[in-house]
């Protein structure tokens, strides 16, 4: 299940500062997401179950949440979008989800342009902050 919500940069910074990721690094990384990102992907596995997620009322860009499985995000959203030029995607996900997205991005002429491995590993999950951007001339906006 994915969720698309709108969020602007100010709200992103505010939001990232209160997302209960276990250590400082994740929200530092979130806060470091550059302007120009068209959407963010957040992996729900990296915050404790039952914790309220402060997602409501945020303005563009879009926010997508996953539970580690990128299937629906890919099929419903990224596959169509990544066939067209442009679209910079950022995220904080498990390294497993990033592996899948990175491979799929490569098929569409895109690259991971920023990657920061975050601490701590929680329940065997390695969080990573990343950005995927167009690389090949056919998809550069």
């Amino acid at each position: 299940m994915i969720t698309g919500l709108d969020m602007d940069r100010r709200n992103l910074l505010k939001w990232s500062a209160i997302v209960p990721l276990a250590a400082a690094a994740p929200y530092t990384a979130l806060a470091a997401v550059p302007q120009g990102v068209d959407a963010l992907v957040i992996d729900r596995r990296h915050w404790p179950a039952g914790t309220p997620t402060p997602l409501a009322g945020l303005a563009a860009p879009q926010l997508f949440t996953i539970d580690g499985d990128v299937t629906q995000l890919w099929y419903q959203t990224l596959d169509p979008i990544w066939r067209k030029p442009g679209f910079v995607l950022g995220g904080v996900t498990g390294s497993d989800a990033l592996f899948v997205l990175e491979v799929l991005a490569g098929d569409r002429g895109r690259r991971v342009t920023q990657r920061r491995v975050l601490d701590p590993v929680v329940a065997g999950l390695q969080p990573v902050s990343w950005i995927i951007a167009p690389h090949h001339p056919s998809v550069k906006g």
């Binding site: 499985d69 299937t71 497993d96 989800a97 592996f99 899948v100 491979v103 098929d107």
Partner: protein, 536 residues
Amino acid sequence: MAVLPPDLDAPGFARFLEELRGAVGADWVWSSEDDLGPYRDSFSPVWDTAEERHASAAVAPAEVEQVQAVVRIASKYSVPLFPISTGKNFGYGGPSPNVTGSVVLDLKRLNRVLEVDDRRNFALVEPGVSYFDLYRHITERGLKVMIDCPDPGWGSPIGNSLERGIGYTMPFFRDHYGASCGMEVVLPNGELMRTGMGALPGAKTWQEYRYGFGPDPAGLFAQGNFGVVTKMGFRLMPMPEHYRTGLITVPRRRDFVKLVDHVNYLSDAGLIGEAVYSSPLAPLMAQPDFLALATKLGGPADGDMDAAASAAGLPSWQVDLQFFGPEATTAASWDYAKDRILSDIPGARALDGDHFPLPATEQQMLNTTQPYRSAIRRFGALGVPSLGMWKIVSDDGHVGFFPVLPRSGEAVFEMQRVLGDALKEFPVRPFFNATTTPLYWHSFAFQMVYAPSVKRSDPDHNAVVHASMKKLVAVAAEHGWGDYRAAPIYQDDVAGTYSFNNHALRRFQEQMKDAIDPEGILAPGRGGVWPRRFRK
């Protein structure tokens, strides 16, 4: 790590690349180390070692004519090409070639679904079409056919079937090469050939009768290196009206022998989809005493395993059964399966699973409606592509050894014991133990699985994995069990085990390779078949 093709110097390589750019466009030829990163085997146990195989470049044509042009240019410069469809062959080498310096022929831009017919139930696709693409094409048009896809489903029907990959629906469809019908192939000289009825101009039966007339060479292109497949047909299952599940459990270890025989009958009679075996005792492996029993050298006594099952209050084995078809037919088939098995195996029990009309709802796909713990992965079982499998991939991926064994309980017990004992010298988890069950993926044979993880940050661990893979290939072969699919770094080992009559099969394949591709333009070494130029 920049590499050159075999026997080609840097100026020659530059001229070769320039000709490729002229054929497909400058944007679709890559040779920088950065650009070639995606063409490494990211699951490789020999990552960053001398054994890792590296491409020298990659080229992505968009049309069949461009594929032909690339093959002819490669032939002119004697550069080996390594064709890939979408390059998702993870666990079996990914997109990496057999020969360092090969140029990856990336067919991802040939991505057209050419035809899906839901009256005659087939599809014709290009190699860059993924299972997701085919599924989207079918669902958006409301076509009444079901695909059979692997898990994960991001690979291509052509690539997966050429690797003899599998899915999870009915036997007739889940052997993906077996369900293929008709190929178009670019040969090593650049010529275009069609197999079966495709060779008859004007024929409308290319995807319905695979043989045509005379010898059928289609098998040469599966796990082979005799051509580049640019189109391929597949039979599709008409969308079933209904899906039903049921679970059978049996109490004693030896009951597995009869259980397998019954399920074989149900499968071969076309009554069930993939049967998923498991052991309710497997969670007991977390207990040291049970672990010691289930991994005992030479295998445990049946009585000891039965006593452990009895003490835990658990049956020894279970099988998830799946039925496709009209609702009444699925109900009758399940009733028949229950009667047949329960009347023959004392203590066997049957649990009715959920059943529903197709297409399934989201909750049904997520398998939350099943009244018991099931080993079935619903997405694959219902032909819906998924990427959820990646959540269970640990470390930096894994390699895979999947020995083929007979569909009998006795054979399963023997493989548990033999390969379990063979692995004892390696510090890996006990893949083969007294609770290990077979995979019923291919339609008429079992496989068991050894898939240890790899860790790029731990070369010692990877060396253990690498050594254990080679040992298992050898030990399995001593017992008549062969791998069905392997990464390039293991293909020679595996091919070497198919050695009847002093390797007559390999010598025959080499003769053919020498005849049509002596310079090894197409994937030299793939499937263990080397042309004269590369034979040691």
